[in-house]
């Protein structure tokens, strides 16, 4: 955020670990709240709200994956499978028992967390690539199970329709109302992650990531914390899956295949590993990239290509740029968009008196 930091001194550890590092941050938050709660829903076209909605859901999932990969240094290629666990748990509860979203949503998260711990078990013994592949196996086995067990999947179609979430008789059934529904959970996830990161647990995660054996020596039970990281991360993923379910009105395992796990990995790598802001940037970036490339090509591409060629070029280009950007960020800016943002910020911090 843009604030000058001069003249602020921290005298206690508590102040250093505070959620708002500067008093002025409260005003920034208030301004952001004003923009997102009042300004945007009033002024922006429904189409842009629908994109924002997708971004909000992606933020929840990206934060979860970042807790595991960015903070704790484990790898998971099974994130999407945990989303499907959450999605089907919530859908089954909502349809078979008629439970409202404020029960199914945490229930979906908890179920995903439980499965996440099981899939995370191998992390106690293996790491790096082996763990990546073990979670890949987890992804495929969960997909397989959902596809095969009608009690979970609700029949051969493996899709369960759910009603839109409603609260006190008000149904969230337009992009506009879903906007508030999803915004609430995205903000909740952001605040929860910020708090987690500055707590004992978050710091233990970072210790495990940076040097697990050393962490164990200073008294961190790394097994416990690794599994905890899997559980928390899967909880987020489960909630993300529930949000998708309510947003689309259907739980369908084909929404949560391997490619989705990879998209989420791309989000946190492009955004910035081990940072909340990075997860948000990554979610925004990966969601917007195809849309922006398409809009850009619709305007500019017609100068170079015929209409018939264009559709193919746009699609190929989108995938190419997506892959290229991942590589670019890894090589040039491993800390991702979050780092770019910090560069911008530090430039303005001393502006106009930079050296």
């Amino acid at each position: 955020m843009f604030h000058r930091e001069a003249g602020i001194f921290k005298t206690t550890y508590a102040a250093d670990a505070a959620l708002y590092p500067l008093p002025i941050a409260k005003w920034t938050i208030a301004a952001l709240a004003l923009i997102f709660v009042v300004l945007i829903p009033l002024t922006v076209h429904e189409y842009y709200l629908s994109i924002l909605n997708l971004i909000f859901i992606a933020i929840v999932g990206a934060l979860g994956l970042n807790i595991l990969v960015g903070y704790t240094g484990q790898i998971s290629i099974g994130h999407a499978a945990f989303m499907s666990v959450g999605a089907y748990t919530a859908a089954n509860l909502a349809v078979k028992l008629g439970l409202p979203f404020w029960i199914t949503l945490p229930a979906g998260g908890l179920m995903a967390a439980a499965i996440g711990v099981v899939v995370g078990m191998p992390s106690l013994r293996i790491k790096g690539l082996y763990l990546a592949i073990a979670t890949l196996a987890g992804q495929l086995i969960i997909e397989w199970t959902i596809n095969r067990v009608p009690a979970i999947s609700g029949g051969a179609q493996a899709s369960i329709e759910v009603d839109r979430p409603s609260l006190f008789g008000f149904s969230f059934n337009t992009q506009g109302s879903l906007y508030f529904f999803l915004l609430f959970f995205a903000v909740l996830a952001i605040v929860a992650t910020l708090n987690l990161a500055r707590s004992r647990i978050g710091r233990a995660f970072v210790a495990v990531r940076d040097q697990d054996i050393a962490a164990e020596i200073i008294g961190i039970n790394i097994y416990r914390y690794k599994l905890l990281a899997f559980a928390i991360s899967s909880f987020y993923a489960g909630v993300c899956g529930v949000l998708y379910t309510y947003y689309f009105g259907i739980a369908n395992y084909e929404q949560f295949q391997l490619i989705v796990s990879i998209d989420y990995l791309a989000m946190i790598i492009i955004g910035g590993l081990g940072s909340v802001l990075g997860s948000i940037f990554g979610a925004i970036f990966v969601t917007l990239l195809p849309i922006v490339i398409r809009l850009f090509m619709e305007d500019v591409g017609s100068l170079f290509f015929t209409q018939a060629e264009m559709a193919n070029v746009i699609s190929g280009l989108r995938l190419g740029v997506f892959g290229g950007l991942i590589i670019f960020f890894l090589i040039v800016e491993p800390e991702g968009l979050n780092r770019l943002w910090r560069n911008v910020r530090s430039y303005f911090r001393v502006w106009p008196f930079s050296y």
Binding site: E46, Y47, I259, L288, A311, S315
Partner: protein
């Protein structure tokens, strides 16, 4: 500093594109069609041939002055066979004032069913989505407009019966399917038919990615030894199945493939047309280039001084794209006529779609009749067989076991 400038340039470009790129002027006498496609995802080989067919037919209509004086603008969005981009695409179409949209992909159709109904814009899902969505009362804005997997199952069994001499009593039929929801969908129909017709059926699942199925084919040809094989496969799996069955000496004339395993590409990849002699395919649109509308498209390209696109050679998918576009245009034409030449709303286009009847486009489109209750249009299919290096029509438009399909549709409607 440079790093900083670069970052901001990026942000500025993004914002500019978002703000200015989105708001095209809405010209008079223009109707917008939305088309979702998959050109990069798991079904890319279908999309790259199907969607050009759609564009070319619309181009043809526009070159002849449009539909009832309205030019058509198509917005195509590649949803990559992912669900979130499909939702984004739908919202974009809505923003641009689309009167209807072409959906693409089964999970995408499932995820948009509800939204289409809420927004009152019809979406067509030929070959995708659930068989149950043929029921116009349950899914008022979803239009399969082509034979569902249930109808295809009925047709496949009817064809097998014909080929096996008019009776299936005591015969053995193997059903080899891609192990996903779409692959499992025809099972209830097949199981019922097995009981009714008295044949023995066994199922053989091919899990994703389906690049290898030696063991299943061995099981079919070595142990089960069926009289007929019904194959419902996707992606590269149909080619592998053709190759493996042939390798084990099973006659391909005793095989019938569902609509997504029946394109030229599948047969070419299996070693060329010559290598798949006898292979039977179910089709929901006409195959080959022998249709007046395709001649018109070729003439249109010639008039522009261009060669006809190479996608036209992949006639199975290309013609399906033409079929979808033609039905879209027909629906809009009905709606405009009903309104005496004024621009129709999406809801009126839906009524226009439900009034389609006796529109065959020179045989490329089946003699379907779409009604408010039946959005599938009757579930008509043709069988085309590989003969002498090309696909030849071996059974004209027919419906397989329609009463049974209807029974299942009614039962499914009651369940919900």
């Amino acid at each position: 500093m440079t790093r900083f400038v670069r970052s901001w340039l990026g942000v500025a470009a993004t914002t500019a594109t978002l703000v200015f790129g989105g708001g095209q002027a809405f010209a008079q006498k223009e109707l917008v069609f939305g088309l979702q496609c998959d050109r990069t995802g798991p079904t890319a080989t279908v999309g790259v041939n199907l969607c050009p067919g759609y564009h070319d037919y619309i181009g043809l209509v526009n070159s002849k002055g449009g539909v009832e004086g309205f030019k058509i603008k198509v917005i195509e969005i590649d949803n990559e066979y992912k669900v979130p981009p499909a939702m984004e695409a739908h919202e974009r179409f809505k923003k641009e004032g689309a009167v209807l949209e072409g959906l693409y992909g089964t999970p995408q159709t499932a995820a948009l069913n509800k939204k289409l109904e809420e927004d009152k814009i019809l979406g067509t899902s030929p070959g995708f989505g659930t068989a149950a969505s043929a029921d116009g009362k349950r899914f008022p804005y979803t239009f399969p407009i082509a034979a569902s997997y249930w109808s295809q199952a009925g047709a496949a069994v009817a064809f097998a019966k014909e080929r096996l001499g008019g009776s299936l009593k005591g015969k053995k039929i193997a059903y080899i399917f891609y192990d996903n929801p779409a692959g499992k969908e025809p099972l209830p129909i097949l199981e019922d038919l097995a009981k009714d017709e008295g044949f023995e059926m066994r199922t053989f699942a091919v899990p994703a990615p389906g690049v290898e199925m030696g063991a299943q084919i061995l099981d079919i040809t070595g142990r089960f030894k069926p009289d007929f094989v019904i194959a419902h496969l996707f992606g590269r799996a149909p080619s592998v199945a053709i190759k493996e069955l042939k390798g084990k000496g099973f006659p391909l004339s005793k095989v019938v493939a569902f609509v997504w395993g029946s394109a030229e590409a599948d047969i070419i990849a299996a070693g060329g047309m010559g290598a798949a002699e006898g292979y039977n395919t179910i089709q929901f649109a006409g195959v080959g280039k022998d249709f007046p509308v395709l001649k018109d498209i070729e003439a249109m390209y010639k008039a522009q001084g261009k060669a006809a696109p190479k996608e036209m050679d992949s006639t199975v998918y290309y013609n399906r794209g033409v079929l979808i576009a033609a039905l879209h245009v027909e629906a809009v034409k009905n709606a405009i006529k009903a309104k005496n030449g004024a621009a129709p709303t999406p809801e009126e286009v839906k009524k226009g779609m439900e009034a389609i009847k006796g529109f065959t486009l020179g045989g490329l489109v089946p003699p379907m009749e779409i009604t408010p209750a039946d959005h599938e249009g009757g579930g008509w299919v043709q069988i085309w067989t590989v003969k002498g290096g090309k696909l030849v029509k071996s059974k004209d438009w027919f419906q397989g076991y329609r009463p049974l399909i209807q029974k299942h549709l009614d039962a499914d409607a009651k369940k919900s």
